[in-house]
C-alpha cells in the first residue's frame, strides 16, 4: 500500500492509517448498533450518530463533498423524517 493520503501539507502516513482504521472499526460498530437497537426512537438517534461517524470517515478518506452530503442527509434530514413518521404512527402501532 502506498501513502494512504497525499496532501500538500505533510501528514505522517502511519498516523493517517491509524485514523482510517479506527474510523472503519467505529463505523462497523455503529452500523451493528443501529441494527441491534430495537427501541425505535433510540434507533433513529443511533442512526443519526452513525451518520456523523460516516461523515468523519469520508472526511478522513479525502471526500469532503460526500462528507457534507452525509452530514446533512444521513445525520439530519433522514432522522428528522423518521422521527416525524414515528410520532405520527406511534399510537397505531401499540
Amino acid at each position: 500500500m502506498t501513502a494512504a493520503v497525499s496532501t500538500p501539507y505533510s501528514v505522517p502516513v502511519a498516523m493517517m492509517d491509524i485514523l482510517q482504521v479506527t474510523l472503519l472499526i467505529l463505523v462497523a460498530a455503529g452500523a451493528t448498533a443501529v441494527v441491534l437497537i430495537r427501541e425505535r426512537v433510540r434507533q433513529v438517534l443511533a442512526l443519526s450518530v452513525y451518520g456523523v461517524l460516516l461523515a468523519v470517515l469520508f472526511l478522513a478518506f479525502q471526500a469532503p463533498d460526500v462528507t457534507l452530503s452525509e452530514l446533512t442527509v444521513g445525520a439530519v434530514a433522514l432522522p428528522v423524517v423518521l422521527l416525524l413518521t414515528l410520532a405520527k404512527i406511534r399510537k397505531r402501532e401499540e
Binding site: 469532503p64 463533498d65 457534507l68 452530503s69 423524517v81 405520527k88 399510537k91
Partner: protein
Amino acid sequence: MTPAQRRLVFALGAAGLAAFYLWGLFGLPGFGSYPGPYGFVINRIAVGQTNATGVVSTVNFDYRGFDTVGEEFILFAAAAGVATVLRRLRGERERPAVDEAADRQVRPTSSAVRMIALLFTGPVVVMGWWLAVHAQTNPSGGFQGGVVLATAFVLIYLSGEFLVSKRVSPVDLTEVVEAVGAGGFAAVGVSAVAMGLPYLKDFLPLGTVPGAVSSGGTIPLISFFVGLEVAAAFILIVGELLEQTLLIRQEGQ
C-alpha cells in the same frame, strides 16, 4: 412447500451468494489503488480549463453536468410524488385531524433547544447559501448547500415557531422555487445549445484568477439552481410530514 424444502432453497441461495461474494472480494483491487487515468487527467487540467478551484464541483456541474441533470430530476420527481400522493383529490374530503395518541404528553420544547435552534438558524442559512452559490471555490455545491438551507427550516420549527416556519415557506412558493431550480439547470444547458455549443457547455466568462468569485463560468450558476431545487424539495417533503404530525397534535391539545 414444507419448511424443510424452504430451508433447502434458502441454503442453496445463501451458499451461492456467499460464493459469489467471496469471489468478488478476492478480485478487488488493493486498498487505495486507482488504475484509471481519468482522475489524474481531471486533477491536472480542471483548474486550468475552468479557473474553478472546487474540482469536485467542476466535475459535477461541468464535465459530467449531464449526469447531474438526471440526479436533480430524481429528487424533483420524488418531491413531486410526495406532493401528488398527499394532495386532496376532487371529491375527497379532508378528514378532521384526530389525535392518534391522546394520552401522550407533549412536553413543551425546552428553552435550551429553542435557544440553540435560534442561534444556529442564521449561521446555517449563511453556510447553506455559501455552499450553494460558491461551488466554484468550495468542495461541495448546490446539493449540500440546498439541504443545509432546508435544515434552517427545521431549526425554525425546532425553536417552536411552527407558524413562522409555515409563513417563511408557503407550499405554493416552495413549489415555484423548486420548479425554477430544476428548470434553471436545464435552461442553462439549453442556452448553450442555442449558441450552437454542446448541451451544458460552459459558455460564460471563466474569469482570470483561479478560485475567484467570478471564476468557473456556468458552474456557480448551475450550482445555485441546484441549491434552489434541493432546498425547496426538502422543505416540501419535511413540511408535508410536519403538517401530518402537527395538525394532529394541535387538535389533541
